[in-house]
Symmetry: C2
Subunit: 253 residues, 2 copies
């Protein structure tokens, strides 16, 4: 029997038919037609991971690809002496694995309990060749990720600690708005899916600096906290003003 560690019971792990899948219209299968979908249906299988578990190690063979259906995972890289940088944050609908490559270039870690919708790599690659809707969608998603990675480079390379935190919260808000409730212009609630340490690894800071800057934003009235992990943003525009960006947020319409 699988040990349950930190959750009392293992969640029933969202296993639905594709048509009912909560991320049906965001994932790699978003553009598939009913016929194609039933092909995927036959190929797919689910994998579950508990919070803290490693999904793959950097360099490991990876004989599947998949989509995050539930939970949050991270991609990270490490230097010789253990300094760590997160290079990707995988939320529901994000894709894991690279067609055409056998091994992972990153450590992939489940940060909360995670469910993946997987395909064995070889069949998936063949399927891509015959299903332009999938290949095309994957290209589109990769280009989006590339844009995100570059936005991140700007954050890592040029922003101050305060700007980094403000940016991070803003970006989370943007993703949440796409996936879930569209943002009204009132106060917005954002759940941080990461510990302070993970945020630090994400932002190229130390956990102490992350903590200090969150406190600073709070005492400046730009955010308030509900517990440690829930942020309430009374006026998102004011927070965006702290990111240093060239104004165009896109969160609030």
């Amino acid at each position: 029997m699988t040990s349950q560690s930190k959750s009392l019971m293992s969640e029933p792990a969202v296993e639905t038919e594709c048509v009912e899948c909560p991320i049906r219209h965001q994932a790699v299968c978003a553009r598939c037609e009913p016929g194609e979908l039933s092909t995927l249906e036959q190929m797919k299988y689910y994998r579950n991971y508990e919070a803290g578990q490693t999904i793959v190690w950097n360099g490991d063979e990876m004989n599947f690809v998949g989509t995050v259906v539930r939970g949050v995972a991270t991609l990270s890289q490490t230097l010789q002496d253990g300094r760590k940088q997160m290079v990707g944050l995988l939320l529901p609908s994000d894709f894991i694995g690279r067609p055409g490559r056998r091994t992972s270039a990153y450590d992939v870690t489940a940060i909360s309990d995670v469910t993946l919708c997987c395909f064995r790599r070889k069949p998936f690659e063949q399927m891509m060749a015959t299903t332009p809707n999938v290949a095309e969608r994957l290209l589109h998603m990769s280009l989006d990720e590339l844009d995100a990675a570059r936005e991140w480079m700007l954050i890592l390379g040029r922003k101050t600690a305060r700007e980094k935190i403000a940016s991070f919260i803003t970006i989370l808000g943007r993703r949440a708005a796409i996936l879930g409730v569209p943002a009204r212009s009132g106060p917005i609630t954002i759940d941080l899916p990461l510990t302070r340490e993970a945020m630090a690894d994400y932002l190229g800071l130390t956990l102490e600096t992350v903590s200090r800057q969150i406190s600073a934003l709070r005492s400046d009235g730009l955010i308030s906290l509900d517990g440690k992990r829930r942020v309430i943003v009374p006026d998102i525009r004011r927070l965006i003003g702290e990111t240093g960006d060239d104004m165009d947020g896109g969160l609030v319409a």
Copy 2:
């Protein structure tokens, strides 16, 4: 001796038939068959830019896509107050523009005299749909760029100034080895395509720090300089040892 800098007369700008194109096997057309190639041949046209010229501004409409045939260009982003971060370095064979998007998300700047092999965007998109070899190749290239961007995130987020410089030189060496002369294990010569300031914008440093660290590496015997822009690396492995990376360079076989 190949072209450089601000020559009085505009170079005759490499305009060849696809079959003879110097980057035939690296670019987006790499996997095309003769028939497909002649389709491209009819669609393509060349554009030339002088060193320092801007190719597109962030937010500008961009009605073409293209491949760098000659020269070096950069992708960069800027914050409100002018802080700048380079988010991509485009060498020959690299692709510019994003199919399916009308405007550029970055400033694209020619850093030396540049020749692009271009396609108008719409026809290119249609062509992609009917030419899986192009779409597939573009996906592959985008995923490579994504990997590069993530490697860069590690550099920006977690490396010291010295490690950043060592990494930068190492990466340039790797690219040069792929494109040109395969690296023997003797001394390697690497031309820096960037000013110190541009390197700084790339590495998230100031130009003074870049200069200091280059001097430091030199006085430590890890590199030597021929002029300001040419680096000689007597022992690439020793330099790789300074990058902080988890050892796997891939430059020297």
